[in-house]
Amino acid sequence: MKKGKHRVSFFIDLFTSCPTIVLMNNEKLLISSLKSDDPIVIKKFYEENKKGFVFFASRYQLDQEAITDIYQDAVIALIENAKKGSIDDLKSSLSTYLFGIGKFMIYKKLKKDKRTISIDDGEFPEVAFDMYEEEEINLQLALLRKGLKKLGEQCQKVLQLFYYEEKKLDEIQELLDYTNKDVLKSQKSRCLKQLKEIIKER
C-alpha cells in the first residue's frame, strides 16, 4: 500500500514540478548569462525588472534618483553573487531575489537617513552580500584600484577569478588551462608582487 502511494505521489510531484522545472531552466540560463557578462542579457534583465521595482519602492518615500540608484546597486549585487556561484541553487525566482536585495538596500538607506522604517524584516534575501562602504579612507585601496588597471591581462584574469569570483585554485587551473596548480600559484604570487611594485611608484 505504502509503495503504491509513493509511486503515485512521485509522479504527481514530477508532473506538478514540470512547469517549475522549465522555469528553473530559464532562470539557470539567465544566471549563466549574467555570470558571463552577456551585455544583451544584462540589459534586458535590467529593463524588465525596473518598472516593477520602482513601483515597489515608491511606497518608501524616496525620490526617483535614489530609487534608480538603489535599483542599480541591487542588480550589481545580484550579478556579483551570480559570479560567485552563490545563487546557483536559488530557490526563488531571480526577480524575487533581486527585489529582496533592493528591499534590504532601501532599509539600510532609510536607517542611514534616520527615517522611520516599516519594512518587514523577515523578507530579506537568502544570500547575503558585502556592501563595502566606499567612504573608507584606505590609501592602499585607492592605489590598488588604479594600479589594477595597469596589470597585464593574464594577471587580471587570475586575480579576478580568485578574489572577485571567489573560485578555488583548482577550478582556476582548469578554467585557464594551467599545467598544474603550482604553476598557477607562482603566477598569482608574481601578479601580486607586480601589483605591489606598481602602487609603490607614486
Binding site: T68, E80, Y132, E134, Q140, L141, L144, L148, Y163
Partner: protein
C-alpha cells in the same frame, strides 16, 4: 601551515574552525603576515569596487535618454512641407485668387426690379430673385423662361446663376452649348464667363484657349482677356 596557505584557504573559504583560530593568532603575532593579509583583502576590495563601478557606469548609460533624431526628422519634414507649400503658392497659378479678381456677377440689365407694380410675371420674378441673391430660385425661373421663350437673356442669366451657385460644370454646359444670338452682348460675355469657369475648374488649357479667342475679336472683355491671359502665363 605556511602563512600563504592560511591566506589562500581563507579566500577559498576552506578554513576549518581550528585553522581559523590558528590563523587569527598568527595575524596577531606576526605583523608581516598581517600586512600581507591586509594587502590581499584590499586587492579583493579593489577588484570588486572597480567591477561595481564599471557596471554602474553601464547602467547609468541605460538611463540616459538616447539621442533621438526623431524631432530633427519631424522638423525637417515640416520645413520641407512648408517650403513646398510656399513655393507652390508663389510659383503656381492661383486659380481661385485670379477668379475672384476677374469675376463679377453680371448685372441685371434686362428688367430693373421695381417692386409693387403689381406685375408678377415670370421675368420680373426671375430677376427679382437674381437681384436679391436668391440664385436657386433665379436658376429655376430662368430655366423655365428659356424653355418656353428661348430668349438668350434667360440662358445667359441661368449660366450666371449657376456660377453663383458654384456649379461651374453646368455653367460651362450652358455657355458652351447654348445658342446665343450672333453679335449679341451675351455671346461675347458667355465666352468670358466660360473662360472664368474653366479658370475656377483649374483647366488652364481651356481657359487660355477661350481667352485667346476673345483677344482676337472686338468685344467688351477683350482688354480683360488680355490681362488675364498675361496672368495665366
Amino acid at each position: 601551515m605556511e602563512q600563504e596557505e592560511y591566506i589562500r584557504k581563507y579566500f577559498e573559504g576552506d578554513l576549518s574552525e581550528e585553522e581559523a583560530l590558528a590563523f587569527q593568532k598568527l595575524l596577531k603575532e606576526d605583523t608581516a603576515v598581517a600586512a600581507a593579509f591586509e594587502f590581499e583583502k584590499n586587492v579583493k576590495k579593489a577588484i570588486t569596487l572597480n567591477k561595481r563601478k564599471a557596471l554602474k557606469e553601464t547602467f547609468k548609460a541605460y538611463e540616459k535618454p538616447k539621442k533621438s533624431y526623431k524631432w530633427l526628422y519631424a522638423a525637417a519634414s515640416i520645413a520641407v512641407l512648408v517650403g513646398l507649400f510656399t513655393w507652390n503658392s508663389f510659383y503656381s497659378t492661383n486659380y481661385d485668387s485670379l477668379y475672384n479678381q476677374y469675376y463679377q456677377t453680371y448685372p441685371n440689365t434686362i428688367a430693373p426690379t421695381v417692386r409693387g407694380t403689381g406685375t408678377t410675371d415670370l421675368k420680373s420674378e426671375a430677376f427679382f430673385a437674381y437681384d436679391t441673391g436668391d440664385y436657386e430660385t433665379a436658376l429655376s425661373l430662368f430655366t423655365k423662361i428659356y424653355k418656353s421663350t428661348s430668349e438668350d437673356y434667360a440662358l445667359f442669366y441661368k449660366g450666371i446663376s449657376l456660377m453663383e451657385l458654384e456649379q461651374y460644370e453646368d455653367a460651362l454646359a450652358v455657355f458652351n452649348n447654348g445658342v446665343f444670338e450672333e453679335n449679341s452682348i451675351f455671346k461675347s460675355y458667355s465666352r468670358w464667363y466660360a473662360a472664368l469657369s474653366y479658370l475656377k475648374l483649374e483647366n488652364k488649357a481651356a481657359a487660355t484657349a477661350v481667352l485667346e479667342s476673345l483677344t482676337k475679336s472686338e468685344n467688351p472683355q477683350r482688354e480683360a482677356a488680355i490681362k488675364l491671359l498675361a496672368r495665366l502665363e
